[in-house]
Structure formats: structure tokens, C-alpha cells
Symmetry: C3
Subunit: 245 residues, 3 copies
């Protein structure tokens, strides 16, 4: 038996995070948190979310349990939760997840977890540069880059953090100096990424949400979003693209 | 000669109500009210509206008169009326309706009433259950049901009022107890209806509008909406669908 | 070298104004203002904009200069400028225009001005009627007319200013009397115009913007919009259509 009550924004965020990469996922209801992770079918990106028990309004499980969730379906339901509304998730038997908010209760069939693609191990990455900024600003940079190119360079050095894109005839540079960043270690790093993935990732974030970028050189990037007013943590790991000389 | 001035919201509501079922209708300008009713081409649903003379800003007719109205056209015009704006309707000869608000006057040809499908008699229905609720809540229930099914069950018993829908693998239940309902007589009733019609009907209602549901068992339902701040009354009667055992 | 800082709304307005008729234009950075004008490929309409130096936050040019601008591209960029945000335009060499606002800098290739269609001379028109009104009201009149016809008559006489359109069965008249107009000389004039052009022109204006209409009889109309809080002036000249008797 699982019975959880949480801020509806959390359910929206974590299902939004997953649908960027997969349509089904295993949700682990653990003693101290709810956790899930998955890689996309092309093995280019990984998503991980964690919601600590202390950020839930109520949390009751009779034992640690893993359920298979149709995240598209749950995200679709979660979208109609109003701001500041609580939502209750309930698993009474193994077959169905009940989602209740306002006067409506949805009963959604669960998926056998063993039928869902095996979960990835989280890689151990050494990434020199650490940049903390407003996720809303980052979102605008990705949207601007998306208009002229399908890939983008993230770059960090002592002068700040850069997002750069080049089109056939145009070029765009997003730049934040140390003074404009929330936290910044000035380390040098530079990698190129696919905008197609990034523009899905940023949908999880709103203005005011914190984003921590861990960046290396020709290496995967870790994008850690604090979402739902800091109540949930969504992390994306994205493989780099090779820059043509 | 007909000359009426009314809150623009009323014209929006009553034409919105009609276009859910028909594109042309007879409007009766009577001594005490404006009235219209129509059935849809499939004979599944009826719509009735009434606007009492006391809810009009000005009302002047030289005799009771019936005109044939292209409701699609008038609804299309009414949509651009601003909140709190008054609208004047004028019929000077039999051929045209003038619709005036702000600085714009539309002249729309009338239709010969005898060319419009004969009006239905309003059936005399004995419906045991009476449920009064916020039309906005009902609208959300219909929208939620619409995502998983094309029909819905309305159910009433001593525990409250239920709207239930079943998809291939999902199920949704909307429930309001006596305490959450504005008025409720706890009578038992249960009928199934087509969502296709219901989702058109609820468009007439906004949050805060009152809806009275008169429900029987395997019998038509009457949905009475108080719209435009209570200044107009829109009623739909919808035939039930047969539930497969 | 050109270096200009202006209210972002100005850049939005002037590029919006140009894209109604052309995709490329020559921008003249003159001692006292920025100026551009162009005719559409069909030679039916002309657009002219002027931004006076005193309405710019900063303006520095080493000599008067003309650059060729892809206005579609710049308008597309300008759309993402936030309200009250300043934008900097910079031309360091002849090849590129830099557009900078917030943390983002766009570099857009310039076009050789000699490759852009030769500019028109501004015609000297004697137009008897002068009508000044809220551009937002005019916009609504054009939108209403657009629903029933593809051409519209502007008419002025001692009783006011009229915008009239006739559909197959409907008719719409927009009328403002002297009392409702901001300025009006009561002169008689009447010409017919294509709505297709007008509905593009009015996009440049918001509620509260002033529009001055200079109207003659079977003669071009001049529509002068004061936009961006009066900081920019956009003028359209539109050839009349011949009214069938």
C-alpha cells in the first residue's frame, strides 16, 4: 500500500521531467524519498528525479515498493491540477494508481515494472566548471539559440558563462558574468550539445527556479534543476556532440 | 419594430447556447421575455433560453414578434463585445437585425421563420434527483471524462453526486458530497450520456454560474444553467444512452 | 560605426511596420533621426518610419550611414524583448548588425543596400479630411470589416468618420462622431481600400496609440500612427480601389 499527498506542482514537475525522454518509467517509493531515472531510447540523455520525504505533505508505505508508471498519462492528468492544489497518489493493489485532486479521482492502470527498460547506472562524471543561474534565463538562451541552429556550445572561463549558437548567416551569444551568476567557480570548460534535447529539458523549469550546470570539455553536461519551489530535484545528463574542426 | 438594449454577456450566452445544437433559430420577442428553443438535427438534445424583460436594460416592441436568426453569425459578432459593454438589437423591417455596440453597427439579414425547422414541444419529464452545483466544477468533470471516454454516467444517491467515465485502461470519478453541493435532495438516479454533447453545453457556463441538474434513471437529463450573472437561463435536455450490461 | 540604445518597443514597432510590406529595407542612420521607407512588391502601399534622435537613449554615429536590413529577421528577434527593456544596436563593420538586450547578443548579417529595391519618393498628396482617433478603435473596425468583406470604404462628412463594409448578406458600419474623435475637420471625403493591407498595418498599433487619417476622394489614404508611447512615427500610404458603380 502506498499513500502520498504532495503539492500538485511536484507531480507536474516530475512527470514533465520524465516525458522529455521516455513514456514509461519505474517509480521507486523508498523510505526517505520517491526516486526515478531513465535513459532515452537513443541513449543520449538520462533523467533522474528525487522528491525527499520531508517535501511531501503525507507519506505512507508499508514497504519500499517499485511501480511501473505511464508517465505521459500521469503528466496529462497532472496538467489540470490548479496552483497550490494538493494531490493524493494511492496504490492499493499492484494494478492501479489512483490520482486524486479537487473533486476528481483518476484510476490509471500500472505497468509491470519488469516490462520497462532496465534503468541506467548514474555515471560518475568529473566536471570542472560549476555554474548556478536562474533557470528562466537559461531557458531564454536556449529558445534564442533554437531559432538559428540545432546545436549550441556551452563555454565557461574566468570571464563568465556563455551559450553560443551559429546559424548560416547569424550568430547569437548569451553571456552572464560572475556578477550576474548566482554561483560560479570560473573553471574553463567547453562542450557542444543538441538543442533538440535541451529545449525539452528546460520546459521543467520556471522563472525563479535554480539551475546548476556542471560542465566539462567534450564531456557530458549535468543540468540540475531545483523545481516546484525547491521541493523536487530534476537532473538531466546529456552526452556532448562532436565539434567539427 | 423591436428595440432591445442588454448586457453584451447575455447576447453572448444565448447565442453560444444555441450554436451548440443548431445554426438557425426562431427568436420570440414576447411581452415579458425573449425566448427561443430548438432541437439538434439528430433529435438527441434540446436547448431552451429565456431572458426576462426585467433583465434587459431597455425593451420596446410594438407587438409580439418572431424572427429567424442565423445564430452562428450573431454569436460570431457577439464574441467581440467587451466585458460590461451594452449591446442594442434592432429590427426595423422584417429583413434585417441590427446589432450595435461600441462604435460598430452590424446589419445581419434575417431568415424567414417558416424556413426554420419546426420547434419542439418541451417534454414533461419526471426527474427525481435535483443537484445544484457550481457550473465550473461540472465543466472540469466533463473535461476530465472527455480525455478517456466518449460517454459518461451521472449518478446520484444518499452519498452525493457522481460523474463517472471509463476508458480502455483508466477510470475517472468526480464526486461531490451533500456538503460540497449547493442544493441536493439525495434521490437515487443513474443515466449515461454522450460527452460529445455535454462538452458543447458546458461552454455556455463560467466559474460561479449555477447549474441545476435534474436526473432520472435511464431517462433524459435537464441541465439548467443560470448564466450572465443570473440574467439569462439556458436549459439543455439530453437523451440518455443505453448502458450495455 | 553605429551605436544606438533605444526602448525595445521602438525596435519592435518599426520592424513590425516594415514587415507588413517588405522583407528587406534600407535603414538610414541620419544626424537627427533613424529613417526608412519602402513600397510593397505590388506597388500598392508605402511604409515610412522615423525615430527622432531625442527619442533614443543613446545615439552615436561617426557619419550618416545607410545599412541594408533583413527586417523579418530583426522583427523576429525583437519580439522576445521584454516590456521596458532597452536594446542596443551596433554596426562595427559593414557586414553585421549586433542586437543586444538582456544577456543575449545577436549578430545578424547586413545586406548590401544596393541589392535592395530602390526607395520610393514620398508622394505629395492633397487630402482634405483629417481624422484623429484611438488606433485601437480603428483596429477593431478593420477586424470587424474583415469578417465580412475584403474591401472597406472610409468616409468622412460633417456627421463624423465612417468605416463601412458590405458582405454578401451582412453589412457593418463603424461610426465615430466629432465628439468621439480626438480631432476632426469635418471635410467630405470617400475612398475604398483593400482590407488585406489594412489589417497588416493596424498590427503596429496598440490601444492608446494615436492614429491620424488623411483622407481624400478616390485617392490614396495616409495613416500616421504614433507608436511606442509616441517615440516612433509609422506612416502608411495606401492606394484606393475603384468602387464599382
Amino acid at each position: 500500500m502506498i499513500d502520498v499527498i504532495m503539492d500538485g506542482e511536484i507531480l507536474k514537475s516530475i512527470t514533465r521531467a520524465m516525458v522529455a525522454l521516455v513514456s514509461e518509467a519505474r517509480f521507486h517509493f523508498m523510505d526517505d524519498k520517491i526516486h526515478s531515472r531513465a535513459v532515452d531510447p537513443a541513449n543520449v540523455a538520462m533523467v533522474i528525479f528525487d522528491v525527499s520525504r520531508e517535501n511531501l505533505e503525507a507519506y505512507s508505505i508499508d514497504e519500499e515498493k517499485t511501480v511501473g508508471v505511464d508517465v505521459n498519462r500521469i503528466y496529462d492528468i497532472a496538467k489540470s491540477i490548479k496552483r497550490n492544489e494538493l494531490v493524493e497518489l494511492k496504490v492499493e493493489d499492484e494494478s492501479a494508481l489512483k490520482v486524486k485532486f479537487g473533486s476528481v479521482e483518476y484510476t490509471v492502470s500500472l505497468i509491470d515494472p519488469s516490462a520497462i527498460r532496465k534503468e541506467p547506472k548514474i555515471p560518475n562524471l568529473e566536471l570542472p566548471a560549476k555554474i548556478v543561474l536562474d533557470a528562466g534565463e537559461f531557458k531564454k538562451a536556449i529558445a534564442a539559440a533554437d531559432r538559428i541552429s540545432d546545436h549550441v556550445v556551452f563555454r565557461s572561463d574566468s570571464t563568465g558563462f556563455y551559450v553560443e549558437a551559429e546559424g548560416d548567416i547569424d550568430r547569437i551569444v548569451f553571456h552572464m558574468s560572475e556578477a550576474e551568476l548566482i554561483e560560479f567557480n570560473k573553471a574553463e570548460a567547453r562542450s557542444m550539445f543538441s538543442i533538440e534535447y535541451l529545449k525539452e529539458f528546460v520546459k521543467v523549469a520556471g522563472i525563479g527556479d535554480l539551475l546548476t550546470v556542471h560542465l566539462g570539455t567534450n564531456y557530458p553536461v549535468r543540468l540540475v534543476f531545483d523545481v516546484s519551489g525547491g521541493k523536487a530535484r530534476v537532473e538531466y545528463i546529456l552526452a556532448p556532440r562532436i565539434e567539427a574542426e
